[in-house]
Symmetry: C2
Subunit: 700 residues, 2 copies
């Protein structure tokens, strides 16, 4: 962390000295006969390791160590990410010397708000399991509390004495200890509960063995256990996001290519496409930059260094005399058209995502008004972007560490605020990895303080550590390497890393088969079957995905001669698309979005599991919800009919091992009767290269 | 951490504001034009996450994040363990926005002592690699420092401009930036170096392209880089142990069973065995408790509840009227005999390990003098050990959390100090997991402050998390589950977990095939071949191992009818052994200890790798040193001759792929000519169930 003050936490957090215990006595009410316990938090330990030496006896200690808490990111250094109403399954490793029973509970709630308590149950190997669910859109935190459950320990020992035939004198002696524990509990209780505990203590004191074996008394004694010597973990932060951050479908298009009487469409023209986008089942309409486009060094068709008169330029060359990052391109209809576009999207329940690219064209007003925000050469000229010997004279990067970095940072943050004021809550951020991580941590962290509804998608195609770090410090959606993972092994390894390790707790992978910058060899050579395959994979492997729609729908796969991107790229020219075409992939998109919305299993990330299938061209995986399993089998070979036997772990999936079950292919519409764990599949890529089966689970 | 003050760190650590840089300028001498950088230490970040909110712009920031440093235990919460002269290979993940080159170095040294600096080299994927070696027996620490290497970045860009054919005017302009960087470096230098840098800057200013491509100038500019905006990781602690903690062979025997004219031998009698133990190649002589043995409830032969007159009792029933944990049993010859035993061991270069068991017999002087150190029943009697309905009336546990816990803890620590004053530096600690972890952390931590030579072996056979935690907080040797891992799969999985994950950085597994408490079914049923197999595994898998010698040597495998332990257990009776028997396993023990001492590869832990062999009864693994590989192939089936093909990764092992190589079986004495990666082995358990091959590596 680079700042004196935090940017992640939203409300002031004060460690409660009196935890709010649901139906439980406050710790401060305890008469501590035993030494008071300090927190075992690693944050204090770390300081001590490099601190001053000690030989004196400590003044207090705890017998309990909370050794591991999951989910957590770098042991709580960064928040885990969840969406509202998405459960957090907590597993805590808690150890203690000896053989006593431990009480372990989860203390959780919104940061600065009311705390709730949920018991954790011993699973095995000193691991305690439980869950909570954030119900409001604000930062949460949780911590683990543990203490020695002395009454349960006593009762367990006492039962074994009774069963083992201990004599009456011994039992009488032991009952006095039990009575003393009950009186400690009674002191925490009131009303009827207190009375019951006191009466039981009296019975114990008189030597009544039967009461001591009473299970309902055990529950009461546990409830009012004074939690003497309890220890608590540090608080673990939870970034609670809107559901759309976890489950959503993005549709990208260039509004200037919308149907129009003019060559250059306006946002009003583009708004006419919103009903169609809604009908296809998308949630977010993502527009490339809509700002005024510079004219200096404007790029022409196919990234030609000089534009011909009338060529529209790249939307990422931001700013001209009409304005910059807070203006709308005149040819798109200006700010009024934009506001109408957003209003119409809102009536259709669509969110509009803007593309925020922090760079300027040489014509941007910032260049004249704030030359101090740019890098300069020794001859005084502003440094354009370059990767020697290549020069990008149409793009000026900002100087994030120049003398005036603070005013620059404030201005850039105000760009987000400007569009938030216009109702925008979703931002796709261009190349965040070429700006300081500290900038994003501050910018996103402070914006989210009052606006936890914001979604930031990091368009960082760079090395893995940086992509992960951008997610840790605040981006709640991330582009991935998905587009380049094509083989069964590549897909299995990559999706396993993303979804089945701790990564998914902070990194939400948004799967894009294509973008204006990406048309892979696989899509280029595999044609329509390849486009179907990659769309099925994107929509079923991750619960957030996106598509650069128009060329994909029409299997437009003309590749640039030198790079894995589109030829005749829409970044530099206006294209005419057939927006309503039942022979295109539009019906498949619609069907896949329907399937996602109708099947809860596809709306989550943690639940992805791969299954064995005996053909290297076929991949099989499932996602499980309470009452159903979605099983996908995809033929990764876009050329050839492939067959294989898929092998399912029936018990783990909650499917019957002893009788048949029906699998319903929601894509093809067929129903099959399957038996046992091994079943046959055949997939012809020229018909439909994938099954997306729904299978009902047995009631457990 | 449960204490206000640390117990792990030995000397006060003050984070240096002026790091001691070897041949490098001090950071404080830098004129910081750019914002000063704060540490990216996670310990500050953690506090911030749950701290107060911020919306103001930060006052400074860093573009660099040090995202991961290994080796480390829980990100530096606990020290890693190394022995003197054992290298620490550090890998640091360091990221920065953009594409600039980074300078990364390791700052390391004894805590509170002189700091050294070692550069880290970029490997790939933003990971920087380097190493240092602690040379003294004291705590060390290391941290990672990183900064943007502006001159290297500039020179790289400049070269690409030259190669790309930039015009003279452009090169001239860029050279001015290079000159400015050289002048910044010159300000940090003095003498000739300063002059060279200044002269180069002047040449740049005049536009001399050639000097700018000079590699030797690059090295100088890097050396005097002002490290503007450098960030540092937190310090990572290193527990530096004596070599014996990493590489040693322990021999356990009951001194009262030594050859003697009396039935109960003395320590003087036992001392006569020291030359033999030395000749067998052991390093540490480990004695079960040598203290006065209680008479109350004394256990007889085979753990019989009542001893017959003359039965010696269990050495773990500590204390009688002659004394307790600081006394020597009269029948062993008392303190004088002990001192003679230690003196003789020392002349033979043997260390004596004492068994410290913190419990008492009812006759221990503590019971009368300090009843407050024990638990009491409600009837006032002291609580003996029990596991209802079982009662262990001969053993009183201490009450580590009683009212007088502080005086108890001090007294128990003084037991170690007492024996340290007699020259003992190695302790085997009995059942540490039934005493508070906080006690051990304090006790071992404070003793090690002045005595880093101490070795503590944790005899904790309990659940994994507790065994690991005991190691994290201070035990530098640990018993393991090795005795119960017999199959190829069990051994491979367990040894992989211990030696090839981060565990080996804090947990040093001491492999024991048997103990007085452990005689496994495998040894019982497998007879002599099983004993050979397990001894070869223990001596070659781990670099620290031990053996409860006398019964093992003679393949005495009479098992208790109900438990996996010895019948006629020496814990309760005196046994007569044949201490010099060439038909026993003594010659094999001697040979294995010789092989370990003669082959450096067997003296380390991190270097264990398993290899493929196509027979589930055969296991193959190697350890590699600079110039040789030790390859072990063991037949795990003690009954049947087994054959198989072992498959070696030749390149990884540094063996020739294109020609033959010789493998020398140091155990059997044969030499074989092998070719390629697959070679045949056959092992007859009734002859010799293992190969321990030495193979010379190619000079690399």
């Amino acid at each position: 962390m680079r700042f004196r003050n935090p940017v992640v936490s939203i409300r002031p957090f004060v460690h409660p000295t009196t935890p709010i215990l649901v139906k439980k006595p406050a710790l401060t009410a305890t008469k501590n006969k035993k030494p008071r316990t300090q927190s075992t938090s690693k944050s204090t330990r770390k300081k001590d390791v490099a601190g001053a030496p000690v030989s004196d006896i400590p003044s207090s200690f705890s017998r309990i160590d909370i050794v591991r808490v999951t989910p957590s990111v770098d042991n709580g250094a960064y928040p885990i990410k969840r969406s509202v109403h998405e459960p957090v399954d907590v597993l805590a490793g808690v150890i203690c010397d000896g053989h006593e029973h431990l009480g372990v509970e989860l203390v959780w709630g919104p940061v600065g708000g009311e705390e709730h308590v949920t018991p954790l149950k011993l699973r095995y190997n000193d691991e305690y399991l439980g869950a909570f669910t954030p119900s409001t859109l604000e930062p949460y935190q949780y911590r683990v509390r543990a203490w020695i459950d002395r009454y349960t320990t006593w009762q367990d020992m006492f039962k074994r004495r009774v069963d083992g035939g201990s004599d009456k004198a011994e039992l009488h002696t032991e009952l006095q200890d039990g009575a003393s524990l009950l009186r400690d509990a009674a002191a925490q209780a009131s009303g009827r509960d207190r009375k019951r505990l006191e009466q039981a203590a009296t019975a114990f004191e008189k030597g009544t063995v039967k009461r001591a074996l009473d299970e309902s008394l055990l529950a009461l004694a546990q409830q009012y256990d004074p939690r003497q010597g309890a220890v608590e973990s540090k608080p673990y932060p939870v970034y609670v996001d809107p559901e759309l951050a976890r489950f959503g479908a993005w549709y990208e298009f260039f509004p200037r290519s919308a149907p129009s009487s003019q060559r250059h469409a306006t946002l009003d023209d583009a708004a006419s496409l919103l009903p169609r986008i809604k009908e296809l089942g998308f949630d977010i309409v993502y527009l490339p930059p809509i700002h005024p486009i510079g004219t200096a060094f404007r790029k022409g068709k196919d990234n030609s260094p000089t534009a011909q008169p009338g060529e529209p330029g790249s939307p990422w060359a931001i700013g001209n005399t009409d304005g910059g990052h807070k203006a709308v391109h005149q040819e798109l209809g200006g700010m009024d058209a934009f506001e109408r576009f957003v209003a119409k999207a809102t009536t259709y329940g669509l969110k509009v995502a803007l593309d925020i690219a922090f760079q300027t064209s040489p014509d941007h007003p910032y260049v004249k008004d704030h030359p101090e925000w740019f890098k300069h050469r020794s001859d005084g000229t502003i440094r354009y972007a370059e990767n020697p010997p290549k020069k990008y004279q149409d793009v000026y990067p900002f100087d994030f560490e120049g003398e005036e970095w603070q005013s620059l940072w404030e201005e850039l943050r105000s760009v987000f605020q400007f569009w938030m004021d216009k109702g925008i809550t979703v931002f796709r951020v261009d190349n965040p990895h070429t700006k300081p991580l500290a900038f994003w941590e501050w910018c996103i962290g402070t914006l989210r303080q009052d606006h936890p509804e914001l979604i930031f998608l990091a368009e960082a195609f760079t090395k893995p550590k940086t992509m992960y770090q951008l997610a840790k410090i605040g981006f709640n959606n991330s582009y991935t390497y998905f587009a380049w993972r094509n083989s069964k092994q590549e897909l299995t390894e990559y999706a396993t890393e993303l979804f089945q390790t701790g990564a998914v707790d902070f990194y939400r992978p948004n799967f894009w088969p294509n973008t204006p910058d990406i048309l892979t060899d696989y899509l280029t050579h595999g044609g329509r079957p390849a486009h179907v395959i990659r769309l099925v994979l994107a929509t079923t492997l991750s619960s957030v995905y996106g598509i650069y729609g128009p060329p994909y729908e029409h299997v437009y796969n003309h590749q640039h001669p030198k790079r894995e991107e589109y030829a005749d790229n829409e970044k530099y020219e206006i294209r005419a698309w057939n927006w309503y075409d039942d022979h295109s992939l539009q019906p498949l998109m619609k069907r896949l979005n329907q399937i996602r919305k109708g099947n809860r299993a596809l709306q989550f990330m943690h639940n992805l599991r791969f299954h064995t299938i005996d053909n290297p061209q076929l991949i099989a995986y499932s996602k499980t919800a309470e009452d159903h399993v979605i099983l996908c089998v995809v033929n990764l070979d876009p050329y050839t009919h492939q067959f294989g036997w898929v092998d399912l772990p029936l018990a783990e999936l909650g499917l019957p091992g002893d009788r048949g079950y029906e699998v319903y292919d929601m894509l093809g519409g067929e129903r099959y009767s399957w038996h046992g764990s091994r079943n046959f599949v055949a997939l012809n890529p020229h018909v439909l290269p994938a099954h997306v089966f729904r299978i009902e689970r047995m009631a457990s």
